[in-house]
């Protein structure tokens, strides 16, 4: 409850900039409800001018008709304005929240992004935000007009005739009960339907993706049966959901018919005694046809609002995530870096209950090559995470040129490292923009030169659009090796004094791989480099080899030293 209250507060504060528009929108809603409800009164009055042959008051009729036209025009204009205002507010808010959420992502610790499913985050930023604004604004408008309609209808009915109104009020609890009951049941069945649908979709997704494997194991029949089973479960749930929700309409229509019959009888009886005119009866009847509609809408809106609150809470949770600590001193930067790195007594672990890196000491002189080796999952990338300050160390210190990296700005640390990772991330933009990523004001000559240095120029030129080729999202238009060359070119353009490189292991053809390793060598000359190494040549030439196993640095030294130790490194080598 408290959480809901907080969410409500947050929502209100989000709406604050739009309070004037929201106010206008509410006024318009009142106007719409009033005029919509008022119109049938005029219809009734018009009918009353039409009594019988030769007994039609045309003067009055024309006047009434004229008024009706004005009223309906007001309603229409107000309706359009209200929707337009609501749209602007809703979409504006969506944009603001998305921008906020995105800016947040940029400030989140990498640990959060690493440990949270990206689909989940995207879902919050895209779907939850959409559902929230839609549910909130549309829901709110409907809720407000619905309640207003009910109240005003009753007031107007009272004014026309007290007895008829009492008949209507008598049926009201029934309308509420029916609407509530159906809404509750519908929700339950739809939830079960969507769960089962998710399961069915899951099977389809997984099996079509793995169709090769399915065929490989002759599992077609088994999978088909598994699907049938889950599809049958879905059928039962769907049938219930569709049926129950479809009943809503006839059921409320039935309640409405009861209201209608009640009004017709009591109204007609009153008309006999002259306490009501035929015109009034027509008006009352037309209110009666519409009477239960708002009940139905309100019960639907309540679930929608609940859902929208839940979405909002999820988005807010993302926006409220803890940010990385701000830089201690925004002016403390390192300049003129030669590449001396001193790691002393560093302790670090991702999960604080499981020890990982303990008392790591490493003194790297400018220009040295450090090879990091070890089996998959041994934590080679942890070292990269710490050097780049993607993660903060638990204790000890890492110093660059004698300055503690925790004291200087992150930007200045990262500017001094050139990083080429195995996962070759490129932007969905042109090749030119991708190479110039670290230096957006680079001239084309510079970009081309960097590409040449990275041995990427020749393949880029052969692409249909050359340097303007757009790198697609999945990057299907480039091979893994080509992507890696582009990542290297990106670094070549800025070429910082220190490097962090991750040698690719597989799915790169030999020609490209040779190019990559040539480019790597070129970059590394004269630069301090940390290399997650897979090639023995790289490892053997390194000044220091760090051997990792299960997250721990178990051996440290150059090739000859480590071979003499006859430890894990020696074994690794012999496996070859």
């Amino acid at each position: 409850m408290n959480k809901n209250k907080n969410t409500l507060k947050r929502i209100l504060s989000l709406l604050h900039p739009y309070r004037f528009r929201m106010f206008v929108s509410l006024i318009l809603a009142v106007v719409i409800v009033l005029t919509t409800l008022y119109l049938p009164i005029f219809t009734g009055r018009a009918v009353d001018t039409i009594v019988s042959k030769g007994n039609v008051d045309f003067e009055k009729l024309i006047k009434i008709i004229f008024t009706m036209i004005i009223i309906m025009c007001i309603t229409a204009v107000a309706q359009w304005c209200m929707t337009a205002i609501n749209n602007v507010v809703a979409y504006h808010m969506v944009r603001d929240i998305r921008n906020q959420a995105f800016a947040k992502i940029m400030k989140l610790p990498i640990s959060y992004v690493d440990s949270t499913s990206h689909g989940e985050i995207i879902n919050r930023v895209i779907n939850d935000v959409d559902q929230f604004s839609e549910g909130l604004l549309m829901g709110f408008a409907q809720f407000f007009t619905g309640i207003l309609t009910i109240i005003l209808t009753i007031i107007i009915l009272f004014k026309i005739n007290v007895y008829v109104t009492l008949v209507v009020l008598l049926v009201t609890p029934l309308a509420m009960l029916v609407a509530g009951l159906i809404a509750k049941n519908t929700y339950k069945h739809f939830k079960s339907q969507s769960e089962r649908r998710a399961r069915m979709t899951g099977i389809v997704d997984e099996m079509i993706a793995g169709l090769g494997t399915v065929k490989n194991f002759n599992m077609e029949k088994e999978i088909e049966n598994e699907f049938r089973e889950s599809d049958e479960a879905l059928r039962v749930a769907s049938q219930n959901a569709i049926f129950i929700s479809a009943i809503a309409f006839p059921a409320t229509r039935f309640v409405n018919s009861l209201v209608y019959a009640g009004v017709a009888i009591s109204g007609a009886l009153l008309a006999i005694t002259g306490k009501m005119s035929v015109g009034q009866l027509t008006s009352v009847l037309s209110y009666a046809t519409q009477y239960t509609k708002p009940f139905n809408e309100i019960s639907g809106v309540v679930t929608e609002l609940q859902n929208s609150f839940a979405c909002a809470a999820r988005v807010f949770a993302l926006i409220d995530e803890e940010e990385i600590l701000p830089d201690k001193d925004v002016n403390n930067k390192i300049e003129n870096v030669d590449g001396n790195v001193e790691i002393s007594h560093v302790y670090f672990s991702y999960d604080k209950s499981k020890k990982l890196i303990e008392d790591l000491n490493l003194d790297v002189k400018a220009g040295q090559r450090i090879a990091i080796v070890g089996p998959t999952g041994s934590g080679k990338s942890t070292i990269i995470n710490l050097l780049m300050r993607f993660y903060d160390i638990d204790s000890g210190s890492i110093k660059i040129e004698g300055k503690n990296i925790n004291d200087i700005t992150r930007k200045s640390i990262r500017e001094n490292f050139g990083m080429v990772l195995q996962e070759t991330w490129l932007k969905n933009a042109s090749i030119r923009d991708n190479i110039a990523f670290g230096k957006p004001d680079a001239t084309f000559e510079e970009i081309e030169a960097a590409a040449k240095e990275a041995y990427a120029d020749s393949f880029i030129k052969r692409l249909p659009d050359g340097y303007d080729t757009i790198v697609t999202e999945g990057g299907e238009n480039l091979s893994a090796g080509q992507r890696q060359l582009l990542c290297i070119a990106r670094i070549m353009l800025v070429l910082p004094p220190m490097l962090i490189l991750d040698e690719a292991t597989s799915s790169i053809d030999t020609m490209t791989e040779a190019r990559i390793s040539k480019a790597f060598d070129k970059m590394m000359t004269g630069r301090t480099s940390f290399v997650v190494a897979h090639r023995l040549s790289t490892i053997k030439n390194a000044d220091v080899i760090l051997v990792l196993k299960d997250g721990h640095i178990i051996e440290q030294g150059n090739h000859n030293e480590l071979m003499e130790m006859k430890g894990f490194y020696y074994e690794l080598n012999n496996a070859v």
Binding site: V56, I64, I126, V204, Q239, F249, I272, I508
Partner: protein, 574 residues
Amino acid sequence: MLRLVRYLKDYKVESVLAPLFKFLEAAFELLVPLVIAKIIDIGIGNKDSNYIIKMGILLVTLAVIGLTSAIVAQYFSAKAATGFGTKLRDDLFAHILQFSHAETDILGRETLVTRITNDSDQVQNGVNRFFRLVLRSPFIVAGAFIMSFNIDAKMSLIAFIVILILSIIVALIMSKSIGLYRNVQRKLDKVLGKTGENLTGIRVIRAFSKERSEIGEYDIATEDLYKDQVRVGNISALLNPLTYVIVNLGIVAILQAGGIQVNIGNLTTGQVVALINYMSQILVELVKFANLIILLAKASACAKRINEIFDIKSSINGGNSELVLNDFDGDIITFENVGFAYPKSKEEAISDITFSVRKGETIGIIGGTGSGKSSLINLIPRFYDISRGSIKIAGRDIKEYTLDSLRKNVALVEQKSRLFRGNIRNNLLWGDESATDEELYKAADIAQATDVINSKEGKLDSEVAMYGNNFSGGQKQRLSIARSLVKRAGILILDDSSSALDYATDSRLRRAIKEIKNITTFIVSQRIVSIKSADRIIVLDDGKIVGIGTHEELLKNNPIYREIYSSQIMTEAD
């Protein structure tokens, strides 16, 4: 759409009863304005309160009958529609399961998934709505129209004109906003893409300190989306007010004309009221009918997409012979002048491939990306069919064997290892349903996967998430190798399937596989170390065999092999 009607054949009764009861409901609904007119004209006119009460009871009776028919109709409709959808999905999924790689490559996985989920849902929805409205809406419109025509022919002209104008306006707004909605969708996709891109690229973005400029780009994309959303929102916001005005103008016109008619004695007041009522009924129903037509148009587009899938037949069909390898000895696999081009591709991925393999041999296949390694081995279990030449297993063309028996004898471990939702045991049992736990562990031992199983608390019963997402790449690879070993097939193909394993584990794996008796093994790899101890190595380059021999022979005579070797310089191994 019509082609899919066959899926309703188990629901014939429901399919007839649903619209029929809807029709009944409508018929009773149409009587209501007549009753009201009677109440006004006779009841109030003659001051007959008994008559009024009688008519009132009639109204309630009509409501009860209406409700009952509606519920019955909805029930049958929901039953028939969901039954239809389920049968359609079952058939479609079974059909897709028959597709060979050639078909799925062309169609793409995404499309197939959306056809089974979204498209069939839309069609099911269309069927449901169709049952409910196909008789009801036209009947009410026609009925109300005839009723008002009966009251006064000239007056019903007003209704006709209103219907016409309304249809035109709805059509205009719809056609205008559909295109704009597509724009909105595109821009939303862009925002979505940017969000995802920035999550995957978070390290690179921070490494280059590009947070600010990325935020700037994102804001532009959301602003773009916002503008389009407002534009389309404002246009579709016109629909309700315009409908409202037109409907009420119709009512006003009836009042005006009705006044004249009553004055000259052609109509009674009750009849004018009835006309107004019919008018509202027509319009409510018309709006529903317009929706039905839009829905049906969508549904038939989806039905067309589904039928496209049904029209595609698997291009690979098995023969009649059973492949049994147990007692066979000699050249187990022979490729003769094999050429193969992927569907839709003009150039051959591999050509002029000729070699034969003796039973029990271990064959290494090496070459760069795109050299045709995977293409070659995918031909053996007939995931693709060759374009020319022939492939024989145990002396007979592989096309003569049933697909079941062929694939039973060929275990291919794919490059991309896949596990499926369930637990480790049911994943391994894919290889052989009747395998005992002991056999599973034996296979896991060879695949170096026992560690993986034992590291999980539930051992064989440990949960496997969708796509095996709760296992690392190396763990997945080892488990899928184990799964293939459970098959105990005579031919084992490892398609670069140990790439995520470290050297030590990889070499233990190869040694263990070598010890299996009566098995012919293909090892495809990029790493020389993985294949150098094979009995023979096939070197592929650009889709052609450029050398076959042992590691030592190739090193001596084959320049391409030597080039690969030197790029991976291995020191004194073993």
